[in-house]
């Protein structure tokens, strides 16, 4: 009897799964076209899954082992099951393998079940709570029906008239398992993540993120430019269908593991943002419906069930409609600091920040609704090329006594020192002065653009004003193209990121270094000597735009080590560093929460027991120093280095001997 029922069950489930898959694909294809190499992507899929995805999952060893057992077991069991029970190839070898696979899956599902006993808050509940049971139903039933194939059970056991009860139970279990695993996979059950996730990996919008056999697997963090020439292209994303199809596919891949939400500083501060919920809202919008079925942490202060959307309806309600009448409230989008902690944590490699900025672009470029000081800051950038609306001619006022060499006079140097908009900020001016002192001590051949420099456009871009960003970027690129230099050095990670990762698409390709990297190199080359550190204990705060955006975690630590400082690391440091709250224009849009992000970060500093926190970013300095009542001092690495400088004895040869080494490279550039 089983031999007739099983093939019917299996092939019905498969057929339904195919129909579901086609429907799902139709949902994704509502999105706009995207240039994706389908074939290459599919070919790269196994590696992307087995290497890159597991690289992220493996940060939690328990889960990664569980996932290998369960998913590996399932994939093998599914294929073998189709062969053995669907097509009736009852070879003992296949049967044995199938037993192994389903056993492995069962063991995995036990661990899945264990995690669900007292699930952490970041995990979604709802249908996800039944998943371990479904996994068990599938693995157990497949195991049992396969036993006769390998002769472990007498063939007749399930044939006799007395065993009808056993058969009904088994068939029921098989149907449940198949329903969740095959049917649910494409019809929107928890297993959807496997189907959508695999295709998402294959057709990811940033293929550069993945490694290849030759290595690589770099960071790809620069935002993608809007084509402003094409007047018919939408300016950002207004409705779910304005995302590209592979972005929609990416949202659908979310497993609701909540790793992103656990890392999100905005959520922790009680601002109305939760990256996981945001991704789920995009799924709701893509499929049409309300968020009432969402079973995870809501946006703080926003009850679930009040928002709904459609693929072609606006994501953020236009001013004419009351708040909450749409998919997402604007303040949710404006809470994000673009710190990329969510993207870094996401095992499905979903690009939250891209999506958020896409939607911000619509709000700023089409609706003119950048909140709070946003409009003023953008107007300043347009009129004066700097955030504060200062006279562009006063950019170098802070350095009036330093006699800084100008590019306009020298035309060609080794290092172009990019000052950034921190030039107008009195606190950052101290950092800049320190940096200049260090460069001079190491006899670096450098110059500044002076009044020719403009804001890099970082804030404009992250506030969604792509037009102002591109205008600033193009003019900066034109200025830079007048001069010859080997590299740009800056103490501002935001400028670093934009110049290094985002100007390229607009035609400006530069070798950019953060000052900590450059100082580390100078030290290694023996061009700087430090007196031993006499201060108290020190910790280091990784700026998001230096660390997660550009992968520079080591150089600042090396510099601090060279200073003789032994770091007391904070619990969240390196790639898991918590944002200072200063990125993405968040201090400008200033969405209220229960607490402030910099306060939480200074609390981390306090918990580390350090008396001083070293930073490498003007934003971080401003945000962290703005925290009242702290025990720790905030100093930029450049300041610490400048304080520790020891004059090298006059006539030391090393300075002169390096000179010839540097000059030929300068000439290479000219040729």
């Amino acid at each position: 009897m089983l031999n007739t029922i099983l093939p019917i069950l299996i092939f019905t489930a498969l057929a339904l799964a195919v129909i579901g898959a086609l429907r799902r694909i139709r949902l994704w294809r509502q999105g706009r076209p995207a240039p994706v190499n389908l074939f290459k992507g599919l070919a790269a899929l196994p590696r992307r899954y087995l290497v890159d995805l597991h690289h992220v999952v493996a940060r939690d060893k328990m889960i990664s082992n569980t996932h290998v057992a369960t998913a590996g077991g399932f994939v093998a069991a599914a294929v073998l099951m189709i062969l053995v029970h669907g097509l009736g190839i009852a070879s003992p070898l296949l049967g044995g393998l199938l037993l192994l696979a389903s056993a492995s899956m069962f063991v995995g599902s036990l661990f899945v079940a264990r995690r669900r006993i007292n699930p952490p808050a970041r995990l979604s509940k709802g249908p996800w709570m039944r998943l371990p049971k479904s996994l068990m139903a599938f693995s157990v039933s497949v195991f049992l029906i396969t036993l006769p194939t390998v002769g472990l059970l007498p063939e007749g056991l399930l044939e006799g008239s007395t065993s009808w009860f056993l058969v009904v139970v088994l068939v029921g279990l098989v149907a449940w398992g198949l329903g969740e695993m095959f049917f649910g996979m494409t019809w929107g059950g928890p297993m959807k993540h496997a189907f959508a996730g695999a295709l998402h990996l294959a057709f990811h919008r940033r293929p550069e993120r993945f490694s290849t056999k030759k290595g690589g697997g770099g960071r790809s963090t620069g935002l993608k430019a809007l084509n402003l020439e094409d007047e018919t292209a939408p300016l950002g994303v207004e409705k779910p269908a304005d995302f590209t199809w592979n972005q929609l596919l990416g949202f659908d891949a979310c497993v609701q593991c909540g790793r992103c939400e656990a890392a999100c500083p905005a959520l922790a501060a009680g601002q109305p943002l939760n990256p996981k919920k945001l991704i789920q809202d995009m799924v709701v919008g893509m499929a049409g419906g309300s968020d009432a079925n969402y079973a995870g942490t809501p946006y703080p202060g926003k009850p679930v069930g009040e928002h709904h959307g459609t693929p072609h309806g606006p994501i953020v309600a236009p001013a004419a409609l009351p708040e909450g009448a749409s998919l997402v409230d604007a303040e949710t989008l404006w809470s994000c600091t673009t710190c990329r902690a969510c993207v870094e944590e996401c095992p499905m490699m979903i690009e939250h920040v891209d999506a958020i900025v896409d939607m911000r672009r619509h709000l700023t470029l089409e609706r003119g609704k950048t909140p709070n000081k946003g409009a003023e800051v953008l107007d300043n950038l347009i009129a004066t090329d700097n955030l504060g609306g200062f006279d562009p001619g006063s950019r170098l006022n802070w350095a009036a006594d330093l006699n800084l060499p100008r590019m306009a006079d020298l035309q060609q140097v080794d290092v172009l020192l990019w000052l950034g908009d921190g030039s107008f900020d009195m606190r950052n001016q101290r950092t800049l002065r320190a940096l200049v002192k260090v460069l001079r001590a190491a006899e670096v051949d450098f110059a500044v653009l002076g009044d020719e420099e403009r804001d890099s456009g970082d804030v404009a871009r992250r506030l969604g004003d792509e037009a102002t960003f591109q205008s600033l970027a193009k003019r900066n690129i034109a200025t830079l193209s007048k001069y010859r230099f080997q590299q740009i050095v800056t103490c501002d990670p935001h400028s670093f990121h934009v110049l290094g990762n985002e100007y390229g698409e607009l035609g400006g390709v530069y070798e950019v270094r953060h000052h900590s990297t450059f100082i580390a190199e100078l030290y290694d080359a023996g061009r700087l000597t430090f007196s031993p550190w006499k201060g108290g204990s020190v910790t280091y705060h990784d700026p998001c735009y230096l660390g997660r955006y550009n992968g520079e975690f080591e150089a600042p630590r090396n510099v601090l080590k060279a200073l003789g400082i032994e770091l007391k690391e904070m619990e969240r440091s390196g790639s898991r560093s918590r944002c200072c709250g200063g990125g993405g224009g968040a201090p400008i849009t200033d969405i209220p929460g229960k607490q402030r992000i910099p306060d939480m970060r200074m609390n981390d500093v306090k918990e580390s027991g350090a008396e001083l926190v070293a930073v490498g970013c003007p934003q971080c300095t401003a945000m962290l120093e703005g925290v009242v009542d702290t025990s720790a001092e905030v100093r930029d690495i450049a300041e610490l280095v400048a304080d520790a400088l020891v004059e090298r004895p006059a006539g030391e040869a090393s300075g002169a001997s390096r000179q010839p080494a540097a000059t030929p490279t300068a000439e290479e550039v000219i040729v």
Partner: protein
Amino acid sequence: MPHNVNTLNDAELSVAVLVSVGRHPLTGRARRADHDARAVEMALSLGDASVQLMHAGDGGEACGDAMRGYLGMGISRVKRINQDPDADVVPALANILRFAAPQLVLTGTRAETGEGSGLVPYLLAETLGWTVVSGLAEIESIEQGVATVLQALPRGKRRRLKVRLPAIATVDSSAPAARQSAFGPARRGELADCACASVTDELQTQWRVQPARKRPKRLKIVKSASARDRFKAAAAKADSGGGQLLNDVTPEQGAEAIFTLLKEEGVLR
């Protein structure tokens, strides 16, 4: 007068806003003029009034940039009356207003470029025979051809006025700030050029224009010993102690009073 204002209701209210080319005080870049943009904002806040923007000028590159700034507020077109660079725009504007016949004309108190005398609304009102109101802070209602408005007076005071339409009203920085100008609508908006004979401003051709010098500020002399007094003095508003309120006087008497004041202050010698 073209309309029978009494039969009008809000739905048909038509508002014209005269906009000019602004100039950023630090960089001199063309932009929407702050006061004019506030006038546009006020017009847009009137609910379902039909709003028309008009500009008379030489249509240069700066003009395009500035007009895009207004379009970005969600305006679909600006009617641009092209004039010679040395033209007096009042006749052209008067012409077009007579033809377009709006019930209410809003504009900034004074332009940021060109002569910037702030006289255009008055000259237009004189030519058209309409009422002119200065320093509008808010339009409270418009019913039966009468607008109830709040006029801003110094130090945050407001005066409620009833104005019979059609009228010309000027807006300064006491009106609500202009909404953000967005790139999308600015790019889509239309600059509808139309020609109108230029009348050369003969007087202006004889002027010599030079950059303004920063005017010296009158320093407050604070004679006080305690920090509290100094703080109070610093926080106090500029005091115009010796004011004089003239009610029911003849224009001659008024002019005489102003003349005396200007002499006292050393403006006229």
